[in-house]
């Protein structure tokens, strides 16, 4: 079973995503910010992390960098899902090594399809 870690500080969005991924046969972990996410990653090894950028405490960029530096998490795909939709924001994301970049508002169907695609690679 595919595992996903969803990180977002907006409970309503988190709730919608959690429901959608569970419905599509993912094992879902959720975190409210970067530090929670990193805590979970100590014990779990998801296939993909769906990451918001603007979050309290540890933001998406920092979380991404920490994941990318961790040898154990080398095979974990990281995907940004953020309201930051400017061209330079997207470029910054990819330059930091993110695997995919989605902007808010989003279609859950499309996101699930894209992530499935990403995991088949």
């Amino acid at each position: 079973m595919k595992k996903i870690l969803i990180v977002d500080d907006e409970p309503n969005i988190l709730m919608a995503l959690e429901y959608a991924f569970k419905k599509n046969d993912f094992e879902v972990f959720i975190a409210r910010d970067g530090s929670e996410a990193l805590e979970i990653l100590k014990n779990e090894h998801p296939n993909v992390v769906l990451l918001d950028i603007m979050m309290p405490k540890v933001d998406g960029y920092q979380t991404l960098q920490i994941i990318k530096q961790n040898e154990n998490l080398k095979d974990v795909k990281v995907v940004f899902l953020t309201a930051k939709s400017k061209k330079e924001d997207i470029e910054k994301g990819f330059s930091l090594g993110v695997d995919q970049y989605f902007t808010k508002p989003f279609s859950t169907k499309k996101i699930i399809a894209e992530i499935n695609l990403l995991l088949q690679e």
């Binding site: 969005i13 995503l17 429901y19 603007m54």
Partner: protein, 895 residues
């Protein structure tokens, strides 16, 4: 004292002077050698043996009248800052090497004028130098108490050897470089030293005579009063005496500028212009102190030694009569110093004139053409060395054959009168651009003729005990042509009489012939440069007007003759670099011609350099109108460039202002961008929630009912959040508008605050934070209650955001003071970082110290508060001294 011992002392002293001069040459750049004091002391070369001995003789016979010679320079001193500075600037710019060069350059590098000035200087200075040597001989005689003149051969005469040593000194230190405009530190430093020595020893003897031989000045005056015609010696006498005084002062005024030795030390050896500032007060002081004791020494001598001895040597005779040989020795050395500095500087100045203005331009120019640069250099130096020896030997022979009958003082004055003939062309020429070479030459000629007739010839005749008829009856027995009473003016002494007539006629001729003839364009060109020197110093090479055809290669060849290949090439390269010209430039322009002439001026004089350069270029005549037009253009160019400078300064100021404004705009833009980003993010978040949830609800018909309810509730929340946000933004925009009106009414502040707190209790409860209203008494004030509730709500809501959960304490209190209501809202949160404090009321600003990286709110809360309070004519600010959280103050007028 034996003459052998005295001679040995003299030789020792001279050797010491050589050492000093060597030291100064070795340390050319040292502070000790280059300073305003040395410069000022070198002016002391004015005080020759004439001052040292002669003025005492004059004071003994004529009383205070001797002072006139020193009052002239003292009056002139303040003018130096204008006059001398101008002369120094011009001389430096044109590499002037002598007085003759200066005058010749002013009148278009006129060769004849330069030679004429040289001859005038020789006439004035040679007899004067010979008198200096005479004083050495006579004082030597007094010291050894036997007559040197008895020896029949010059080879047994110590004065001859002393003269020769002086010539060696001058030749050694005066001709080190071919470029005569170079400074001679060695000579100047030793002259300054001698000035100090003679001054010091003179004051010592003055004190000795006044306070040791007598009981102070009043004792001398009292004793002297009883025995002579005292009254006439302490006053100027009648109206005639006043005239004599006046003209003598004028004469010395001119001499301090124009004596070749003064021109040498003051202008040519000037190192820094600012040294003049010291000289203008220090040199008059030097002269005043020098002359303080003169009258008392003179009277002391009269009282002690009577009228039988030569009063000029009282300073030696008085200590000797008391048996004080040591003191006499000091005085002798002081006198010797005066002589040495005068003879050396004068012979040096004259030798440069003789070489650069007399010998080289007349006849030796063609010689240079064929020779090598080293040879040419040596040749020029040798001309000068020979000239120095020539001057000193001629002076010596003059003294040897005529001296006995001439007094120091009278010869000194004759020298002044002759030199004064240069004054009209020098002074008027500096300020009047019409002065022409024709006027200058005729003026000097006539002036010299008159001086000869009224002063020099009668003086020489009388000195040799001849009394031809014309002295008494006038030339051709015409009464009006009496040499000492020309046209009936019989109340002046011979020197002042001669000065009056020669000077007046000289000035008249100068002005008349200048006005009646037009000078050629070259003359007018230099006239403009001299008269308007301030403008043309900036113009430099551009001020020189020239038209014609010339090849750089020809000019270079001329330069190489004097400078050698390496120096000439380097000089030209510097020139080309300065004016951005390629190195292989073929045709020379006016600037290059002028530059080359200047390069040679120091070595061979301005007239010769002109002749040499002109020999290889084809010059065309330019009309005067054209000269003036070109000069005018140059001046305009300067004015324009000045205007440009001002404009560009203005522009750069403007550019700076623009830059600042731009920075402010960028900062504003950035703030606005950040605000829009934040707003966009805030708007997107609820929309994202709504969109995602709607999609789920639509697609998943099988969703459990509880889940459905949850999602619908979330959607409702998001929708409310969205409308709240839009409301805040609109509200802020509304408040920003100046047309927005408050709805004021009379309210009780305690109730308003209570309402605000009540609306936030739920939010506070979530964080278990306490809100306490400390003041509860009622105060009625006129304000818009809804808006004020908004203010308190914002402040308290902010506070709730920043306090720690379970520990939060927010207090609100208020008080009356100075007809104002002061409200304070305090929390115990983390406070606002210092760097943020000044921005918190700006719209769109969000403090970085929020405990989340993601900003909370819109960044509009405090901006809205400020707008509301401002509209109430109140004030809101942060208490930046409060460290335990944040503390806001509000002040509102009680109207």
């Amino acid at each position: 004292m034996s003459s052998f011992v005295l001679f040995a002392i003299i030789i020792l002293y001279l050797a010491f002077l050589f050492l000093i001069a060597f030291f100064a040459e070795k340390n050319r750049r040292s502070k000790w050698v280059n300073n305003p004091i040395v410069y000022t002391l070198s002016f002391g070369v004015y005080c020759s043996a004439w001052t040292y001995y002669g003025s005492i003789g004059e004071a003994a016979e004529q009383g205070v009248r001797f002072l006139a010679i020193y009052i002239g320079p003292i009056i002139a001193a303040p003018l130096w800052i204008i006059l001398l500075r101008k002369v120094i600037r011009i001389s430096k710019q044109h590499k002037i090497s002598s007085l003759a060069d200066f005058i010749s350059l002013r009148y278009g590098k006129n060769r004849f004028l330069g030679a004429l000035v040289t001859i005038v200087c020789l006439m004035a200075i040679l007899p004067y130098t010979s008198l200096q040597l005479k004083s050495v001989s006579e004082t030597f005689e007094i010291m050894t108490q036997k007559s040197l003149m008895k020896s029949n051969s010059i080879f047994t005469d110590s004065t001859f050897y002393i003269s020769l040593i002086l010539a060696v000194f001058a030749a050694l230190f005066g001709t080190q470089t071919t470029d005569a405009s170079q400074k001679r530190r060695g000579i100047i430093f030793s002259v300054a030293f001698e000035s100090l020595i003679k001054w010091l020893f003179f004051i010592i003897i003055g004190i000795y005579c006044t306070y040791f031989l007598f009981d102070g000045t009043s004792d001398i005056v009292n004793q002297f009063k009883s025995q002579s015609n005292f009254e006439s010696l302490v006053t100027l006498g009648s109206f005639e005496g006043g005239f004599n005084w006046f003209f003598t002062i004028m004469l010395s005024f001119i001499a301090i500028f124009l004596l070749p030795r003064q021109f040498q030390v003051a202008v040519l050896e000037n190192n820094r212009e600012k040294h003049l500032k010291t000289a203008i007060w220090l040199f008059p002081l030097y002269l005043l102190l020098f002359n303080i004791f003169v009258i008392f020494i003179a009277w002391a001598g009269k009282i002690r030694l009577g009228n039988d001895v030569n009063a000029e040597y009282f300073t030696l005779l008085l200590p000797l009569s008391e048996g004080n040989i040591f003191l006499a020795m000091l005085v002798f050395l002081g006198g010797l110093s005066a002589v040495i500095s005068m003879v050396i500087v004068s012979s040096l100045a004259l030798s440069i004139m003789i070489s650069n203005n007399l010998i080289i331009p007349y006849g030796f120019l063609s010689k240079f053409v064929k020779n090598e640069p080293e040879k040419n250099e040596r040749f020029i130096k040798n001309i000068r060395r020979v000239a120095i020896f020539f001057i000193i030997i001629v002076s010596y022979s003059l003294f040897y054959s005529f001296s006995a009958k001439m007094s120091l003082y009278s010869i000194g004055l004759i020298s002044f009168v002759i030199i004064a003939q240069l004054a009209p062309s020098f002074f008027i020429g500096l300020f009047w651009n019409r002065g022409s070479s024709k006027g200058a030459i005729i003026g000097i000629f006539i002036g010299i003729l008159i001086t000869f007739f009224t002063l020099l010839i009668p003086f020489l005749l009388q000195a040799n005990s001849l009394h031809p008829q014309f002295l008494e009856e006038g030339l051709f027995s015409i009464d009006l042509l009496k040499p000492h009473a020309l046209f009936g003016i019989d109340f002046l002494t011979p020197p002042t009489h001669a000065f009056f007539w020669s000077f007046t006629v000289n000035c008249f001729c100068y002005v008349y012939f200048s006005l009646s003839s037009k000078g050629n364009y070259r003359e007018r060109n230099y006239a403009e440069m001299f008269v308007d020197s301030k403008n043309f110093t900036d113009l430099q090479d551009n001020a020189f007007v020239w038209k014609g055809e010339a090849y750089v290669s020809d000019i270079k060849e001329v330069l190489m003759r004097f400078l050698g290949q390496e120096k000439a090439t380097r000089a030209l390269n510097i020139f080309f670099a300065k004016y951005n010209l390629p190195r292989n430039t073929q045709f020379a322009d006016a600037k290059l011609i002028h530059f080359s002439e200047q390069l040679l001026t120091g070595s061979i004089g301005s007239a010769s350099s002109k002749i040499l350069i002109q020999s290889v270029v084809k010059e065309e005549e330019i009309s005067l109108v054209e000269v003036l037009r070109i000069l005018e253009e140059s001046k305009e160019a300067i004015a324009k460039s000045k205007a440009f400078k001002e404009k560009s300064l203005e522009l750069s100021n403007l550019a700076n202002q623009l830059k600042e404004a731009n920075l402010k705009l960028i900062e504003k833009d950035k703030q606005k961008d950040e605000f829009l980003d934040t707003v966009a993010h805030e708007l997107k978040t609820p929309i994202t929630g709504i969109r995602a949830t709607t999609e789920l609800l639509l697609d998943d018909a099988a969703m459990p009912i509880e889940m459905k309810e949850q999602f619908l509730n979330n959607m409702l929340q998001d929708a409310e959040r969205l409308s709240r946000l839009i409301h805040t933004i609109l509200d802020f925009e509304k408040l920003s508008s100046e047309y927005h009106q408050l709805t004021k009414s009379t309210n009780d502040i305690s109730k308003t605050i209570a309402r605000a707190i009540a609306s936030l209790q739920t939010m506070a409860a979530k964080k278990s934070c306490a809100i306490i209203q400390k003041s509860t008494y009622s105060v009625t004030v006129n304000y818009d209650e809804d808006r004020m509730i908004q203010v308190f709500t914002n402040l308290i809501a902010n506070a709730i955001k920043f306090v720690e959960p379970n520990e939060g304490l927010i207090t609100i209190e208020y008080l009356f003071e100075d007809k104002q209501l002061k409200i304070t809202v305090t929390d115990n949160g983390k406070g606002i970082p210092e760097q943020d404090q000044q921005f918190i009321f700006d719209k769109f600003f969000q403090s970085k110290n929020q405990n989340t990286i993601k900003p909370i709110g819109t960044g509009l809360g405090l901006a809205i508060c400020k707008q509301i309070i401002d509209k109430h004519q109140g004030a809101i600010w942060l208490d930046n001294s409060y460290k335990n959280g944040a503390k806001f103050h509000i002040k509102m007028p009680l109207n």
